[in-house]
């Protein structure tokens, strides 16, 4: 089943067109890695998909429900606030810089949204949080505060926080770019685990080896467009497009 469908997405900041007609689909349980040079529009794409930015044109559907559409007059239509919020809750997001709430304990970072936004009881939310922390290998950190965590631990808490809302799809915006190489591994391990559990994920990443290993599909973006997409092995070892070749070669030359 298709869980995300993106059609002809456009986004500009002032005169700078960042997304230039992006279309792709994500099936349930699929892991999609989005790669490409800096400034190719990868992060902006994620920000449009999780409603942090409004698109200029295009259609996005989440499990069949329209999140944004564009009519024949070119007007962008978002559903009313209530319907939009329901869709938003089905989308989880993990940021490059974690963005944990520093004044909340790890436990409360994870339970606050399920209780306040999702209407769960405190006990239920805490039970889920403990299960998630165990899965992240952080059972002993429930009462810690974010400043006491390493980068890798912070990012795993951020993943647990996103999962606590039980999203249909989880977006990652360069989840390991702010981490030392040795801490990168522990975050990738968790994402691998989620992939094995058939969690639907779209991961913007610079970790090519990881993309090749975990992703079901790789999308290569450049200058606001999808240059090519397909099997990770194919794209990363034997790309058909010149620009992809140059990008992959540039990486291996480093």
């Amino acid at each position: 089943m298709e869980i995300l469908s993106v059609e002809n997405l456009y986004k500009s900041f002032d005169d700078n067109e960042v997304l230039h007609g992006i279309s792709f689909k994500v099936r349930e349980g699929e892991v999609v890695a989005v790669i490409g040079p800096s400034g190719s529009g990868k992060s902006t794409l994620l920000r449009c998909l999780n409603l942090l930015e409004k698109v200029d044109r295009g259609t996005v559907k989440v499990a069949g429900d329209t999140m944004v559409s564009t009519n024949d007059l070119g007007q962008v239509l978002y559903p009313p606030e209530g319907a939009l919020k329901k869709i938003r809750l089905r989308l989880g997001m993990v940021f490059q810089n974690f963005n944990l709430f520093p004044h909340f304990s790890v436990m409360r970072n994870i339970t606050e949204a399920p209780v306040i936004v999702g209407g769960k009881s405190q006990e239920e939310a805490e039970k889920t949080a403990l299960e998630l922390l165990e899965k992240m290998g952080l059972s002993d950190k429930a009462n810690a505060y974010p400043y006491q965590l390493s980068g890798g631990q912070s990012q795993r808490v951020a993943i647990a926080r996103a999962l606590a809302m039980d999203p249909d799809i989880l977006f990652f915006d360069e989840p390991t770019s702010a981490l030392d190489p040795e801490l990168t591994g522990e975050v990738l391990k968790v994402i691998r685990k989620l992939a094995a559990e058939q969690m639907t994920m779209v991961v913007v990443t610079h970790e090519m080896a990881f993309a090749q290993e975990v992703a079901d599909r790789v999308i290569f973006m450049d200058k606001g467009q999808i240059i090519e997409e397909g099997d990770p092995g194919e794209i990363l070892t034997n790309p058909s497009h010149e620009r992809t070749k140059a990008f992959i070669k540039g990486l291996s030359d480093r």
Binding site: N50, L91, N99, P102, H103
Partner: protein
């Protein structure tokens, strides 16, 4: 020595009466100016152009002119500006509270604005993707962090306010400073000033300790 022991005790009792009035000015000003400062900061940051402009103007006036002048203005202006028949006369104490509150709210507003603007965009974004409304984001995520960050500059203002209560004496309110002045000239002695000074100092020492405790209480996170 113009004071014998009973005289000294009477002087202290008199100055304590004045301290009570000064304390009233202090607490009432805080109670009104802190929320007003927050509303002003929010209007200055998120209001439409008219509100933003008004708040900026209000802050400019309040920070740009002497509090002692504002006190006199609030007290006398209604009488001179309103047509005969409508002339109301503020109670001098009410006028003092209005002027002090308006003045301190302007300073607090700028401190709050600085604090709110120091919270990273990432906090708002993390809250947004989790489904928090704007209001929930402000009350639960932003404001608690702002309180911690602005406590030191707010403490500065609160300590200044303790001393600024003396300014309401210009409206003829019988608070600590005015009573001390009166006694000093009556008895021709500096002792009333000395005792009043000790009372202000003691008062600010207590205030400082309380504010430091509050800072410590919020030190559980970084």
């Amino acid at each position: 020595m113009p004071y014998d022991w009973p005289g000294l005790i009477n002087l202290i009792l008199l100055l304590i009466d004045g301290t009570k009035i000064a304390l009233k000015v202090f607490f009432l000003t805080l109670i009104f100016s802190l929320p007003l400062g927050l509303v002003t900061a929010l209007g200055r940051m998120y209001g439409n152009r008219l509100i933003k402009g008004l708040m900026k103007f209000y802050i400019l006036i309040m920070r740009g002119t002497p509090l002692i002048l504002q006190l006199s203005f609030v007290y006398f202006a209604p009488y001179f500006l309103l047509p005969e028949g409508l002339r109301i006369n503020f109670d001098r104490f009410v006028a003092a509270i209005i002027a002090c509150s308006l003045n301190y709210a302007a300073y607090f507003a700028e401190i709050f604005r600085g604090g709110i603007e120091s919270i990273s965009q990432g906090q708002y974004e993390a809250a947004a993707v989790l489904g928090f409304s704007k209001r929930q984001t402000f009350m639960r995520i932003v404001l608690p962090q702002v309180v911690k960050r602005i406590l030191p500059p707010v403490s500065n203002e609160i300590i200044t306010l303790v001393k600024d209560t003396a300014l309401v004496s210009t409206l003829g309110i019988a608070e600590l400073y005015r009573l001390a002045t009166g006694e000093a000239s009556r008895v021709v002695s500096p002792i009333p000033f000395l005792i009043a000074g000790m009372i202000y100092l003691l008062w600010n020492w207590v205030v400082t300790e309380i504010l430091l405790k509050a800072e410590k209480k919020l030190a559980y996170y970084k």
